[in-house]
């Protein structure tokens, strides 16, 4: 069967879409008897933050489908609410990264000269540092919050889309329709936003899933190290850190967030591969 980017992207996109969907519906899906909106009974009747010291480290069963953690909190409820942290950080980082990268790349490609060299220099400086070092250093300086992590990930990942958009913009700015617009009196701003950016954006958008995946992993990594999203947000990364102590006896505490992370990042990268035409089958 002949595969098109669309057919290859479909399964990954469907799986990836599950995460923001769960994140959005988390307050409905999992809440305690009192905490739910509209007094509805939740399918997962546990509050993600409510400790129950009588029910610590229960294995998966009828009450707690994925068991409980070392404070007796429902692992599934925390997993569902943790999707809000990961999706939020991931989407914000991807949006920021592409907005900054596309703007810088298009500006460099259209303006050329000193602007172009300046942007390229910045791109090379940022890419010369290991991103985790930059992010971890930044996380130590700025107040820990999901938005901080998103900004830091965006600050290290924008060069990729900047390079891609710059290459497209350099090609587009020489197109006769840009000459026609210039000869007609169109301003540089108009040429940038009306004639170059829309046509140069596609390859940058195809990197969005990669940035999303990287941001989700980075957030988990920083939270694992204690530099990430602060409590009481139920971050998957901190759940993994908390699960280390009881890994031998209560494997479910680590397995659930690890599997969620794995599926999130895998589907994001698969979608990225499909969109940019890499990887087949």
């Amino acid at each position: 069967m002949r595969t098109t980017p669309r057919t290859r992207a479909a399964p990954a996109a469907a799986l990836l879409l599950l995460f923001p969907l769960v994140a959005l519906l988390a307050p409905l899906l999992a809440h305690g008897p009192s905490g739910g909106p509209g007094g509805l009974r939740a399918p997962i009747p546990w509050d993600p933050g409510e400790p129950d010291l009588d029910a610590r480290l229960r294995p998966p069963g009828a009450d707690h489908w994925l068991g409980t953690d070392d404070l007796g909190r429902d692992v599934l409820a925390r997993l569902v609410h943790g999707a809000r942290v990961s999706t939020g950080v991931g989407l914000l980082a991807a949006a920021l990264s592409i907005a900054v990268g596309a703007l810088a790349g298009a500006l460099a490609g259209v303006a050329g000269g000193a602007t172009d060299r300046g942007v390229l220099f910045l791109v090379e400086v940022v890419q010369a540092f290991p991103p985790l070092v930059l992010v971890a250093a930044g996380a130590a300086f700025f107040p820990p919050a999901a938005a901080t992590i998103a900004v830091l990930v965006a600050a290290t990942s924008w060069p990729d889309s900047a390079r891609l958009v710059r290459a497209q913009a350099r090609r587009l700015v020489r197109a006769p329709f840009v000459d026609a617009a210039r000869a007609g009196g169109a301003s540089a701003t108009r040429i940038l936003f009306r004639h170059v950016l829309p046509g140069a954006l596609a390859p940058a958008l195809a990197t969005a899933p990669y940035v999303l995946g990287a941001a989700v992993l980075t957030e988990a990594g920083l939270s694992f190290l204690g530099l990430g999203t602060p409590p009481p947000a139920p971050s998957w990364g901190r759940a993994l850190a908390d699960a280390r102590e009881s890994l031998g006896s209560a494997w479910w505490c680590a397995a659930a967030p690890a599997a969620a992370l794995f599926l999130f990042v895998l589907s994001a990268r698969r979608l990225g591969d499909a969109l940019s035409g890499r990887g087949r089958g």
Binding site: A175, P176, F177, D179, A180, A181, R182, A183, G184, G185, A186, S187, R190, R194, H195, P198, G199
Partner: protein, 337 residues
Amino acid sequence: MTAPPGTLLSVRGLWKSFGTGGGWGRPARRVAAVADVSFDVPAGKTLALVGESGSGKSTIARLVLQLLRPDAGAVSFDGLDWLGLPRAELNRQRRKVGVVFQDPASSLNPRMTVEEIVSEPLLVHRIGTASERRERVVRLLAAVGLPAAALDKRPGEFSGGQRQRIGIARALATEPRFVVLDEPVSALDVSVRAQVLNLLLDLQEGTPSRPAYLFIGHDLGVVRAVAERTAVLYLGKVVEEGPTAELFAAPRHPYTALLLASQPGRRDGASLARRRVAGEPASAAALPPGCPFHPRCPSARPECRREEPTETVEPSGRRFRCFVPEASTGNFSPSST
């Protein structure tokens, strides 16, 4: 050389060279694409620039439109020093100028609708309200023979000829007094060339602003049909210029004669046989000394290899650069135009 009265665009001593082959320790060579070019375009009339590819005709178009800065020379448009204008004022003045490029596929933004494309100059120059602009676009489309249903389509849905009509509508949107036509029919199917040419001629007559055209082409048959005056370019220089009918009837420069004789389908075989000249045009990157045309010239003399001919201006207003101009055939009278 002063511009005669009624001149809209006046170009004097225009030079533009490009650097090639530099880098890694080798010095860059400068190649003159346009060398000391002068011409006038009278208001409401058409001047054609003809020449082989590489003769600098499109570079001249880009210089006149200020898409490129010349190295030297003067361009005056509508009495203004066109090269000395500040950027913002230049962009305002550009309302008076339109352009149609050769390739209709790449000269229209594929992501914009026809309405967006044709109304962009109106939007840029803040002409009319949104509904007035829309009305004007519909009128412009009708004038170039496209239905109003085209408004919301994108260029990809049209044929080459139709796309060029969209480009013409855009060029005329601000009722310019001057339009640069850079090989406007060269990329079109032969069957639609005549239609588009006739459209351009009708629009020149029928538009209230009566735009002057700078028509750039290499097809002499086309040029003969549209232009009052013709300038012949060879390797960046105007080698001959004059009223089209006189220039075609009795070329002064041997290169013009060669171009005329090598037109396909031309019936005077004797002239073709006599004029068949071996050789490619010399490259602008390696200009021969003396007259740039002497290696291909059938009537070259020793002085042509040493010295470059200066411009001769005849009382009738014809001018050429040649030591050994073709003889006047005498079978035309200068008043027959």
